[in-house]
Symmetry: C2
Subunit: 352 residues, 2 copies
């Protein structure tokens, strides 16, 4: 029987409870599809600070590198908000991304027909939206040197090299080939030199994908167009900070912030996590929605080559939503029965 | 009779036709309120490139500095898209902002009751939205040095000094004092040093405004919250590039991109311009909507101390919209009669 080693990083807040449900569902499909998943837990974020005084201990990085994939919950909380910056949960996440070489963050913005009313946008604007954001994740202004701060001035550097742009552009064009063959590259080339290079390199990479339509869009316009007509997009390709902003905007536009998964790839081992945060205010109450994490687990199975199992999970989620089961966050959208975090996990496991 | 010198920078595309209508309306209220406006035209953007091979000639800067205010149309067009960067229309606008010391860009996102359906957001989400973005305009990554590009790497510098942050924060808190007494300062302090300083300085400035509630928000979250619940905002205070992105997003959320004005202040002379672009595709057809420019002219009158005249213009616009007159862009929103650019200008002038 095939065996996959999964590093499990539950993190803080609702992280542990939602990851537990994802594992429940993973085990259900694994036994049906005839493979085995072996889990090893490591600390990350606030819970790692509490034990090791370090938001991303070496042991965690080693554990991930020794696995076939990483399943990640969420990190952070008020308890660690006043720790010095290098030791904060967020710094742990950035160090993990960098150490694992996860240069590509992929965030599909999916619409669930049952939840079309959960968006603040009109149903006719969002019905049929099917876009994915490909965000560069280990470069740009997040990691650029020099970076500096004193009492009178502070700065950061937004930097990209040709190689960094080339490899993320390839990921976007490959995504587009599997999807609707359109890439919208987002930059601010009318103002920034770093965006001029971005645009040049993306155009060169595009030459190898003659079937894919490429368009360039300024980031301010992209932020507008996502609201005006999100259906125009297929793959949005962009840098680290623009991607941070636009992918969060896109997820709110489809209205299902508690439902969206993400994959971070590019290194030896991929990492899969919900796009939402650790929601410390509702942790431990059994009301968190585990679906984003369960969908992330499905993306992990695709990545491991177990696409049939991934599809089983996605189908199960659709069935459970169609039957009217909702966690509390979605109770006002055609709910027939409001269920807890663990009940939702069990329902999806049963239907998978 | 009081006399104000207005530098008129019509620019490119629809710039000239919409500015002409604003002048028509300005003249109508000036004669009623008993002051005089003296206009001097200067070239900017593409039309300045054509004549002077320079998108922002010294003569234009001098002319503006010799005036009481600047009325600006719009710049740019495909004709100048392949000019080298330093000579592009956009560079002219950036040089003008910097030369005039316009460090504060103020963009109110107003909802017109008649046009509530023009938004892609649900009416219940946007009805009653009343927010304004205060964007730092002459610093940050737009102007930061060093900036560099070769074939293999490129970078820009996002830099702020204490003084730059202090003065823009003051503008935002003063705005809030005239409005609903809440400032949301947007940054990315969990990642960027420049944002850490931003946050510190904003907190210090806030101490002088004990009546104003201050909250901090990360830029990714702000991009989401604008879609989720725009009513939560009063004044959004942010840096140059985040402000570029968020103010465009906000304008699309209220659904009236052709209707929103802006003021750029801080130096010796204020500049007033619509937030939309030069729309070269519809230039010269008499279908452009002049309302954003006319509202910008009203902001200019407020700035000159002629608030009663500014109010007359705003009232006139409301009346004309209430009577069902619409330019083509808004023809599908309860139009009784679709009118041309000049007809719209004349109608507003008559009602003012
Ligand atoms: C927590 C934070 C550092 C992180 C980021 O900005 O990348 C988050 O917003 C994300 O998008 O994963
Ligand atoms: C034209 C461009 C340089 C400009 C900017 O980015 O500031 C525009 O988008 C704006 O917001 O006024």
């Amino acid at each position: 029987m095939k065996n996959y080693k999964i590093a499990v990083l539950k993190g803080d807040g609702i992280g542990p409870e939602i990851v537990d449900e994802a594992i429940k569902v993973l085990d259900a499909v694994a036994s049906k599809e005839g493979f085995n998943l072996e889990y090893n837990e490591y600390l990350i974020g606030g819970s790692a600070i509490d034990v090791f005084d370090n938001p991303c201990p070496d042991e965690t990085i080693k554990g991930c590198l020794n696995s076939d994939a990483v399943l990640f919950g969420a990190i952070g909380g008020p308890k660690w908000d006043n720790v010095e910056k290098q030791k904060r949960p967020e710094s742990g996440l950035l160090k993990l991304r960098k150490s694992l070489g996860l240069f590509a963050n992929i965030r599909p913005a999916i619409i669930f027909d049952e939840l079309v009313n959960a968006s603040t946008l009109k149903p006719e604007v969002i019905k049929g939206v099917d876009l994915t954001v490909v965000r560069e994740l280990t470069g740009g202004i997040y990691f650029g040197e020099p970076r500096y701060k004193d009492d009178n001035k502070a700065y950061n550097t937004m930097i990209y090299t040709r190689d960094e742009i080339e490899r993320i552009a390839k990921v976007a064009f490959e995504e587009a080939m599997r999807r609707n063959k359109k890439v919208t590259s987002v930059d601010k080339a009318n103002v920034l030199e770093v965006s001029e290079l971005w645009r040049e390199v993306v155009e060169e990479v595009a030459k190898n994908y003659p079937e894919v339509e490429l368009e360039h869009m300024y980031v301010d316009n992209a932020a507008m167009q996502l609201v005006r007509n999100p259906k125009q997009f297929d793959v949005i390709l962009t840098g680290n900070i623009f991607g941070d902003i636009l992918s969060d905007e896109a997820s709110m536009i489809v209205g299902s912030i508690g439902l969206l998964p993400s994959a971070s790839i590019g290194g030896k081992v991929g990492l899969f996590e919900p796009i939402h945060g650790s929601a410390p205010d509702i942790a431990g109450q059994g009301i968190a929605n585990p679906i984003a994490t369960i969908l992330s687990a499905a993306m992990m199975l695709d990545y491991l080559g177990e696409k049939a199992a991934g599809d089983k999970i996605r189908d199960a989620i659709k069935q459970v939503l169609a039957k009217g089961y909702r966690t509390k966050d979605l109770a006002s959208f055609d709910a027939k029965e409001v269920v807890t975090t663990t009940e939702m996990g069990s329902l999806i496991a049963e239907h998978a």
